[in-house]
């Protein structure tokens, strides 16, 4: 692909704007930097500054913590399955809403967006009372269901945006040239929405991975990684271990988010925001 010509309107920003942007970036990211710093401190109970000394021992301690690994594993599995559910349901919902006209279509497209518009605490309470009403025991699957509510929206939004810009005659063209429904889906629709699915899926994964509120209401005895970190903060011992974990979470989550950002930049249409 040839590179796009530079926008002639894009001039250099005047220095006060550049300075403002720089300050905003510092303000947003400074706390993250602090967390990184204290992953290396020798002081295990308080946040003293300057650091009394630097050490790598917390990395070793974190490595040996069974409960940490259990929480991490749970979070990855929950996020993975919630994302898969979201990819399937979100795509189907997007196809139904953009491809067909049926009674209540507007209402359905609005209700699909509700889980994101509503505060997480409302979703959490609603799910908890629903589970209680039907006597469903809290488990791994109740967490997955809770997370899927907002993950579906993310995928739905991305795919709907793609479909909106899609001329449906490409589907007709494919059928015209001899492809049946399944082959048209495989060869035309799926490749066409692939980047939207990738961006939506990665974003859904990232959101599920750090979700706290809905999880608190839908989890039983198990704790996902964010809940584990939260519980660690109330204990004074081994405090820097949580900082080590945070450091790794940030580094690992940066990959899908950057990728999703790159994809949506290239396509110029997928929504990264919720």
């Amino acid at each position: 692909m040839p590179s796009k010509p530079r926008d002639p309107q894009a001039e250099r920003a005047p220095w006060p704007i550049s300075l403002g942007a720089l300050l905003a970036v510092l303000f947003i990211n400074f706390p993250i930097f602090i967390i990184f710093l204290y992953a290396f401190t020798t002081d295990e109970q308080t946040f003293t500054f300057p650091l009394p000394g630097m050490t790598l021992k917390w990395f070793g301690v974190a490595w040996g913590r069974e409960d940490l690994w259990a929480a991490l594993g749970l979070s990855v599995r929950v996020a993975g399955i919630a994302t898969l559910v979201a990819l399937l349901l979100g795509t189907l919902a997007a196809a139904a809403v953009s491809r067909t006209k049926f009674f209540g279509r507007e209402a359905i497209s609005f209700m699909l967006l509700l889980p994101i518009a509503l505060p997480g605490i409302v979703t959490g309470i609603a799910l908890r009372s629903a589970f209680g009403l039907f006597d469903i025991p809290f488990s791994f699957w109740t967490i997955v269901i809770g997370h899927a509510t907002f993950c579906v929206v993310i995928v739905y939004n991305n795919v709907v945006a793609r479909f909106r810009r899609t001329s449906w005659s490409i589907v007709e063209a494919s059928m015209d040239l001899g492809a049946n429904g399944w082959e048209t889906f495989k060869r035309i629709i799926l490749p066409h929405i692939a980047t939207a699915l990738l961006a939506g899926g990665m974003l859904a994964f990232a959101l599920s991975f750090d979700e706290v509120i809905v999880t608190t209401f839908t989890a039983g005895q198990e704790s996902t990684l964010p809940i584990w970190i939260f519980s660690q903060l109330t204990r004074p011992r081994d405090r820097p271990v949580t900082n080590v974990v945070a450091l790794f979470v940030v580094l690992i989550m940066a990959i899908p988010i950057l990728l999703a950002y790159r994809i949506s930049q290239r396509d110029g249409e997928t929504q990264l925001s919720r």
Partner: protein
């Protein structure tokens, strides 16, 4: 056309297509012969595109049947019909290269890779786009996309090619070029073309025969000359060419009977008001109201004695724009051969 093939390429048998209360197609009967360049001409909403889509299989008749080379295809899905379509918006697959787009029909049929590539390259040569196979559709101009869509639709060697206003998005110059090229291509590949357009000039230029659509019905079927010279209804007379209708008392004054008729603007001569009229001619007195100089010819709007208006076109053989403008306001007599007064049936 002296094509006496007994089985028409396409037959519409009392085809209706209703969308709720709207009768998009309202009883169409039509035979399209094998190897014809056949045009569906009509304004938007006249049912011509719906008819095309029912041949392709994207739409099903509410009632009636459609035959392709004698086989009833009314209920067949698009992928089981031996027709291919060139879409108005081209409908190229944006994630594929031009070559993969053109080869798509063969890919779906699981043809070997070398054969696909070779055939696709042949098709690109045919539409005069050699060497562009590696590009993506987004890197092509409108005219090039048009040709790719054409190559893609022709690669399966369909017996009928459907074209849905394929030149609509192109600028005038390119459109005229493509008209000539399409016509030549059709003669080269020798398959039936069904061409949908709302542009009467395009229809007259390219077609062997055409059907004029209005309100879901066919008003007239015939060769371009028949349609132009002998319009069967007021609608056809008005939609194809300049509407030159005379009705009521004025018509009685000219013809002697109270019949609505049309006369084409270039058939009319302008004479002095008192000029003698020979036998075999129809004539009427009037006053030139408007003169529109168009370079090659001049258009006169003449208000007729007793009401009504006729448009007259005269070639600028020896006149210039200075001469013709002095004609405004002049009393004249319009004269044309009786055979050019086309009496019309049917209400538009």
């Amino acid at each position: 056309m002296s094509n006496q093939n007994p089985t028409p390429a396409i037959r519409f048998e009392n085809v209706h297509r209703h969308f709720g209360e709207v009768k998009a197609v309202d009883g169409v009967n039509l035979d399209v012969l094998d190897g014809e360049f056949f045009t569906f001409l009509g304004p938007s909403g006249s049912g011509k595109t719906t008819c095309l889509r029912m041949v392709a299989g994207f739409d099903r008749p509410t009632s009636g049947r459609i035959f392709l080379h004698g086989d009833d295809v009314s209920e067949l899905p698009p992928y089981e019909r031996d027709v291919n379509t060139v879409f108005q918006d081209y409908a190229l697959f944006p994630h594929m290269t031009v070559l993969d787009n053109v080869a798509y029909g063969l890919t779906v049929r699981k043809a070997a890779r070398e054969q696909r590539t070779r055939r696709a390259e042949e098709m690109l040569d045919l539409v005069r786009l050699p060497g562009l196979g590696k590009r993506k559709p987004s890197q092509l101009s409108g005219g090039q996309r048009q040709r790719v869509a054409l190559a893609r639709a022709l690669i399966l060697r369909p017996r009928v090619l459907l074209l849905d206003e394929p030149l609509g998005a192109l600028d005038l110059k390119l459109r005229q070029e493509m008209q000539v090229e399409l016509k030549a291509l059709q003669e080269q590949v020798g398959i039936t073309f069904i061409y949908v357009t709302h542009d009467q000039e395009e229809a007259l230029t390219m077609s062997d025969r055409l059907a004029v659509f209005s309100h879901g019905r066919i008003e007239q079927v015939g060769s371009p000359a028949e349609i132009y010279e002998s319009p069967a209804t007021e609608f056809v007379a008005g939609f194809v060419g300049i509407s030159n209708l005379v009705r009521g008392d004025v018509a009685r004054g000219i013809l002697g009977t109270d019949t609505t008729f049309s006369v084409r603007p270039e058939k009319i001569h302008i004479l002095e008001p008192d000029a003698a009229v020979q036998g075999g001619m129809d004539s009427v007195r009037g006053r030139i109201e408007e003169v529109i100089y168009l370079g090659m010819y001049t258009r006169f709007e003449v208000a007729l004695e007793g009401g009504g208006k006729l448009t007259v076109a005269q070639q600028n053989l020896e006149t210039s724009s200075m001469d013709v403008h002095t004609a405004r306001g002049r009393e004249v007599r319009l004269v044309w051969e009786k055979s050019h007064s086309r009496k019309l049936g049917g209400q538009a």
